[in-house]
Amino acid sequence: MNIPRNFKHALTILGLTLAVTIPSVHGFDGPEASPEKEQELLTVLRSDAPSGDKAIACKNLAIYGSSAAVADLAKLLPDAQLSSWARTALESIPGTEADEALRTATDSLEGKLLVGTINSIGVRRDANSVETLVPRLQHADVEVAAAAAVALGRIGNAAAADSLRKSLAAAPANVRTSIAEGCVLCAERMMAEGQSAEAVAIYDEVRAAEVPMQRIVEATRGAILARGQDGIPLLLEQFQSPQKPLFQLALSIAREFPGEEIDKALVAELNRPNPDRAALVVQAMADRPDTVVLSAVLEAAEQGPKEVRLSAIDALGRVGDLSCLDALLKMALDADADLSQTAKATLAEVPGEKIDSQVLALLENAKGKMYPLLLQLVGQRRIDAVPELLKAIGHSDKNVRSAALIALGETVRLQKLPVLISQVVSPKYPEDAPVALQALKAASIRMPDREACATELATAIDGTKAVPTKISLLEILGAMGGPKALAAIGAAARSTDAQLQDSSSRLLGEWMTEDAAPVLLDLARIPTNPYNIRALRGYIRIARQFVLPEEQRAEMCQKAFDAASQTAEKKLVLEVLKRYPSVDTLKLAIKAMKVAELKDDATQATLVIAQKLGGKGVDVKSLLVGAGLDKVKLEIVKAEYGSGATQKDVTEVLKKQVGDLPLITLASASYNTSFGGDPMPGSPKQLKIKYRINGKSGETTFAEDALIVLPMPK
C-alpha cells in the first residue's frame, strides 16, 4: 500500500523506538566485562553494604550483569528505595530469566512497586507476559490497570491487541483512556508491520469509544494515515469538525500527508465560510512547497476576506515565484496598510533569481508609486543595479531619491562610494542629506575593505569645512572601527574646534579595541583639553573591560593614576585593581593607601586583592605587613539576612568563613545561594553583621550580594 512518506518515517521510528528498549536477547553471550566484575557487584548486593552502594552496584550490573545476577536483583524489587535501581539492570540484562523474574514479581507486589514492575515488562516487550497482564486490566488499583494496558500496548502482538480491544468498552472510564492508549500503540505497531487493515479497525474502535479527546485525536490521526489516499475524506472531515483539537489535527496531518491529491482537496477548504480557519489552511498549504497549488494561494492573496488574504500573501513568501510578482507589486501599493506592508515583506523574501531580473526590467520604465517600490526592492533583495540607482538619485521626486539612496547604501561597492559621500557632503537636494547619511553609514560598515573605506571617509572629512558634516562622517568612522578610523578620530580630537573635540572624544571613549588606549591617554595628558577627564575615563574603561596581559593592565593603571588629577578617577582605577588581582595590582593598591583621600578605598582594594591572591596560594603576607595591614582577630557576633521582619540567622555561615583579614568571602557571589535560599523572594534584602575586630565591637549592613569588607571599629 501507499504509506505516507512521513508516516513511513514515523513507523520506522516507532519500530526502532520499541526495538531500542529491548535487549538483544538473541545471539548475545554476555557483556565483554569479566565474570569477576559481575561477581564483585553481586557481592555488594549480598552484603550489608549501605543502600547507596547497592544502588550503584545495580547501575553497574545494568552494564556488566548477566542472567546470573537476575535472582539477586529480583530480591530488590520489593524494596521501595532500590526497586528502580534493580529494574534498570533487569530491563537491560538479556535472556528469559529477567523476564521471568519480573513476571513472578507481579504476583507479590502491590501499588507503585507493581506499577513499576509492569512498566519494565512493557519496556522489555515480553510477549510471554500477556497472560500475566490481561487480568490486571481489571485491577482495583487504577494505576496498575493503566500500567498493564500500556505495557500490553508496547508488547503490541495480536494477543495483546485482542485483549485490549475486548476491554475497551467495558472498562471503567478512568482506565479506559489507558486502554485506548494501549490500543493505539498496538495499531501503530501493526501499521509498522504492514497490517494496515487491522490497524484501521483498531483506530476506528478507539475513535468510537467514550475516551478523552486526546485519545480521539491520536486514533483519528492513525485512522487517516493508515487508510493512505483513502484517508483524505476523513482528513477533510476533521477540517469541518466543531472540535478545535480535531481541526488542529487536520492542519498537522495536512502537512505530512503524501501525494498531490490532498493539495487539490485543500483548495476547497479555502472557500469555506470560516475565514479564521481558512487563514490557517493556507499556511498548511504553503508548508507543502513541492505540491502546493500555487494558483489557489495566489487567488486567496488577491481577493476574499482580509484574514485569508494576509495569510496567503505571507505564504507566498515561502512558495511564490515569478508568476506572483505582478500581483504582489499591486498589493504592495494597496491602500490598505496591512495588505501593503505584508506584500512588501513578502516581496523582499520570495525566492528566485528570475524575480530579481524582472524587478530590474520593470525599473526601466517605472513611474509613480511603483518606482520607489521597485527601488526599495532592489535594496532589500540586494539586486546589483547601481547604474539604475545612480540615475534615480537625481530624480525630481524626493520619494524616488530617498528609496534610491537607501538601496544604494545596501548595494554600492567601494568604487562608487564617493557618489554616496558627495550626497552627504554636497547634496544636490539638501533635504536628501539625512537619508544619504543613513545610506553611507549602511554602506561603510558593511564594506569588506574597511581600511580603504575609512581612507575615503577621512579624505572627505579633510575636504569639507562644515563641522556638522565632519562630525557625521566621524560617527560613521566610529561605527566602523579600525586603525585608519582611529587615527582620523584621534586627529579630530586634537583639533582646536570644540565641537570636534567633543564628538571625537566621545567616540574614542566608546572604542571597541584596545588600540584606542594610547590615543586616549595622550588626550588625557593635555591639561588644556576640555575633555581630558572624559578621555581618562575612556582609558580606564579599556583597562577595566578588555582582555589584556596582567603587566599591561597594571601599567595602564599606574599611568591612569599618574594622569588623574581628581579623586573620582583614582577611585575608578582602584576598582580596576580589585577586579584583576595580581601581585602588581596589589602593589599599586598598597601604594595608593598613602594618598590621604584614597586611604579607605585603597585599603579595601588591598584587602580584596590580598584575599583573592591568598585563595590562589600566593604569599602576600610580607606585602601586607609592609602596608601596615597585620592579621586581625575577627569574631562574628550575630548576622542576619533578609528583608523587614523576615530575617534569616546566618551567623554560623559567616563564622565558618572567618579568616585573619577583616573580609569575608562566601561560597558563592550570591547571598541567596550562600545562605541556603532566598528568604524573601522579590524583595530587596540586607545583610546585618555585628562583629568584633581585635576585641573592638562593630556593626554594619550590606546590600544583597555586596562585597563583605568589615570596617575597623573605632
Binding site: S24, N119, L251
Partner: protein, 428 residues
C-alpha cells in the same frame, strides 16, 4: 543576487501587537481585529493559555519571554518548592493585576485543566522527557527546557510520542531562533562554506559521570519541598539540599552527561542544524587531547572540544567547509573567514538577540500546527549525538552507532547504556 539573511521564523500573518513594546508591526489577521482594543489587547478567547511547571532561574527567564507576548495568558504554576510557587504567582499576578494564577504541587493536577493549551516545562532535566510525554498524553503542547532527554531511548520515544499525539513540541534550544546562529547554520547548510568538513561543538566540562547519593539530610515538609515529586522518575535517593539545584540534580546517580549533555544540548544541537538535521553521527572516537571526534555517515566530522578558538561567549560553535568557516557564540557575535560570506550585511545588522523569538516561534506553531525550529525530531537527533558521545566518554573507547536500528554495532556494553528504568510509577 538575492542575498538575504535567514529570516527569523515567525509567521508574519500572526504578528500582532504581541510584543511588550506595543509597537505592532502590522494588524492581526488570525486574531480578528474586532478582538483588539486600542492598546493591542488580545481577547481572552484568542490567547494561548499557558501553565508553568518547575519554574526556577531558567524557567523565570522563559516565563518573562512568555509574559511579553500579549496573546499569552499565564494561568497556573506547578512547583515542588513552595517558595517558587509563591514567587511565580507573584510575578504573574502582578503582570495581570489580579490573583488568578493558580498554584499546584503535583503537575498532574495542572495537566488535568482543560483550559490550559500548553505548558512551559523548566524543571530539572531529570523530569523533562517524562513530563513532556505526560503533557502530550494530556493533550498539551509544550515548550520544554534542555537537555530534553536522559538517554537515547527517551530521545526516540519523545519523537515518536509527539508525532503520535500530534502535539507541538519546542525544545528550549533558543539558539535556533537567534539570528546570528541561524545565519551561521544557513551558511553551512546551503554550501556557502563549500563542502562541509567539520562542525565543532564546545561543551565545557566534557566528562561522563557515574555517581552515588549524597549524605541523607532531614527531609522537609512536603508543602515546602515535595522530595518524592522532585525525584519523580529518578531512581530513589535520600534528601540532600544540595540536590535541589535542578540542573545538577542528575549528578546524584546514573550515567550523566556533564558538559556534553548540558552544553551539548545547546551547541551539538546547532551542529545538527548546520548539517541539515540529518541523523546523528555513526562513529564516536575515544576522547583524546581534550576533544572527541564523531563522524557522520558522509564523513563530516562533529568535534566536541572544551572551548572555542575565539572569545565569542559561552559554548560557541564553528563550522568549517572547504572554502570558508564561521564561528558564533553566546555573545551574539560571529566571526567569518571572509566578509564576502556576509553577502553585504554586517554582523551587527544580522544581530544576535532577543531570545524571545524562540517563544514566539512556539506560540505561532501552537496556532498554525506547523513544526517549530526546536521540534522533537531535531531534538531527538541532537540528543542522541550527545548521549552517544557520553557513552564513548564513559567507556573510554570508540563506539559505532547504526541509525537504522538505533543500536551500537556489536557493542553490548554501549547498547545497555541506551536506557534506564524510571522510578515507579512513572513511564515515558
Amino acid at each position: 543576487m538575492s542575498k538575504k539573511s535567514p529570516r527569523v521564523p515567525r509567521r508574519r500573518f500572526l504578528q500582532t501587537a504581541v510584543t511588550a513594546a506595543g509597537a505592532a508591526v502590522m494588524a492581526p489577521t488570525i486574531i480578528p481585529s474586532s478582538a483588539l482594543g486600542r492598546d493591542g489587547f488580545v481577547a481572552p478567547s484568542e490567547r494561548v493559555v499557558i501553565g508553568g511547571i518547575g519554574i526556577g532561574n531558567r524557567g523565570t527567564y522563559d516565563l518573562g519571554c512568555f509574559l511579553e507576548q500579549k496573546d499569552v495568558q499565564f494561568a497556573a504554576v506547578c512547583d515542588v518548592k513552595e517558595t517558587r510557587r509563591l514567587a511565580v504567582k507573584k510575578i504573574a499576578d502582578e503582570k495581570y493585576g489580579n490573583e488568578d494564577c493558580k498554584m499546584y504541587r503535583d503537575f498532574r493536577e495542572l495537566l488535568d485543566r482543560s483550559d490550559i493549551d500548553a505548558v512551559l516545562i523548566a524543571t530539572g532535566p531529570n523530569w523533562h522527557a517524562t513530563m513532556a510525554m505526560n503533557a502530550a498524553r494530556a493533550g498539551k503542547d509544550m515548550y520544554c527546557e534542555k537537555p530534553v532527554t536522559k538517554n537515547i531511548s527517551q530521545s526516540l520515544i519523545l519523537a515518536e510520542t509527539m508525532r503520535r499525539t500530534g502535539r507541538v513540541f519546542q525544545a528550549g534550544t533558543q539558539r535556533r531562533n537567534l539570528p546570528h546562529f541561524a545565519f551561521a547554520c544557513e551558511l553551512a547548510r546551503t554550501g556557502k562554506l563549500g563542502t562541509l568538513k567539520k562542525v565543532f561543538a564546545h561543551p565545557a566540562g566534557m566528562q561522563a559521570m557515574m555517581s552515588g547519593w549524597l549524605v541523607p539530610e532531614t527531609e522537609p515538609d512536603k508543602e515546602v519541598v515535595d522530595w518524592d515529586m522532585y525525584l519523580g522518575p529518578a531512581a530513589w535517593r535520600p534528601f540532600n539540599a544540595k540536590l535541589l539545584d535542578g540542573f545538577n540534580f542528575e549528578k546524584g546517580g546514573g550515567l550523566v552527561g556533564g558538559g556534553v549533555l548540558e552544553w551539548g544540548s545547546h551547541c551539538v544541537d546547532l551542529c545538527q542544524w548546520a548539517v541539515g538535521d540529518c541523523p546523528p553521527p555513526v562513529e564516536y572516537d575515544a576522547p583524546k587531547d581534550g576533544q572527541l571526534v564523531a563522524r557522520y555517515e558522509n564523513g563530516t566530522e562533529l568535534i566536541f572540544r572544551e572551548t572555542g578558538w575565539i572569545p565569542l561567549g559561552s559554548c560557541p560553535v564553528r563550522f568549517e567547509g572547504e572554502t570558508g568557516w564561521v564561528e558564533a557564540g553566546d555573545s551574539g557575535k560571529m566571526v567569518l573567514s571572509s566578509p564576502e560570506l556576509l553577502a553585504g550585511r554586517t554582523v551587527d545588522e544580522i544581530g544576535g538577540y532577543p531570545a524571545t523569538y524562540h517563544v514566539r516561534d512556539f506560540l505561532d506553531c501552537v496556532k498554525t500546527r506547523s513544526q517549530p525550529k526546536g521540534n522533537a525530531d531535531a531534538a531527538c537527533n541532537a540528543h542522541i549525538a550527545c548521549h552517544a558521545a557520553n557513552i564513548a566518554l564513559h567507556l573510554g573507547r570508540q563506539v559505532k552507532y547504526d541509525n537504522a536500528t538505533h543500536q551500537f554495532v556489536n557493542d553490548e556494553q554501549a547498547n545497555r547504556l541506551r536506557s534506564e528504568a524510571l522510578r515507579e510509577p512513572w513511564r515515558v
